[in-house]
């Protein structure tokens, strides 16, 4: 996968979480993920098409997503419930949008579907294309999350 996608997803992710949740995520070194088990406790997944085809997932540890949504809503969230899952869907949607805007500026136009959310320890993320994906790990004050992407450029 071209580095422009990694850069766009990193920038998009940081932009969304800083602006909406006042959280400053630090990206780590991306690597190839083997297997389908998610890194986190709740994940949002969104299909992508256009100049690139595949899917993007954002997978949050429990502590991390509880802090993010607490900050977004201005109220303390203590368990992963329907409201948290709803928020994960919207966060995934926004990260996708923000990243795609960056890609468009570089001449790569990608369209997204409506995201789905999966929650629970050891849940699986099955990318549309199958095969290994690229994981971009992030750390925050409240815990880690990853952006998990599997894309092929047309």
């Amino acid at each position: 996968m071209d580095v422009k996608f990694i850069n766009a997803f990193v920038e998009g992710t940081v932009n969304v979480l800083k602006t909406m949740a006042f959280v400053d995520p630090k990206p780590g070194t991306s690597f190839v993920k083997k297997g389908s088990v998610a890194s986190g406790d709740v994940s949002g997944i969104i299909g992508l098409t256009g100049a690139a085809r595949g899917s993007l997932a954002v997978s949050f540890s429990e502590a991390c997503i509880l802090r993010i949504v607490s900050n977004m809503l201005g109220e303390e969230m203590t368990v992963i419930n329907h409201e948290i899952c709803d928020a994960v869907g919207e966060i995934t949607n926004m990260i996708s949008g923000s990243s795609r805007k960056i890609l468009e500026k570089g001449g790569t136009s990608v369209i997204a579907a409506i995201p789905t959310v999966v929650a629970g320890k050891n849940h699986s993320i099955l990318h549309v294309l199958g095969g290994p994906s690229i994981l971009i790990p992030f750390t925050t004050d409240a815990g880690p999350f990853v952006v998990d992407v599997c894309l092929t450029e047309k």
Partner: protein, 127 residues
Amino acid sequence: MGKDMKILVVDDFATMRKVVRNLLKQGGYLNIVEAEDGVAALAVIKSQKIDFIISDWNMPNMTGLELLKAVRADAKVSATPFLMVTAEALQDNVIAAVKAGVSNYIVKPFTAETLDEKIAKIIEKMG
């Protein structure tokens, strides 16, 4: 139109409706109703006087763009200010919204200041 105007917030994500509601309250706008998609929004618009619409784009059943077109096509409500607040930031989307008569456009993520500013600009333009 002032802070007592009735605002309809349309988004399929309840979280985002709550975020927008909270930001509007911070700006002093307390008269807020919600809808989870374009179809529900149209039902609200037909049943009560709405002074301002804030809508997402990507929603099931009826998108924000389809809602905008439906509002602009109905003479009774066609002049209602319509602010699109969406993660869809591609140029073609913005152009389509402008062509359909959107009053203004906010790309997610956004701040309370941006929301306030865009609402104020729309109201100012209305005179």
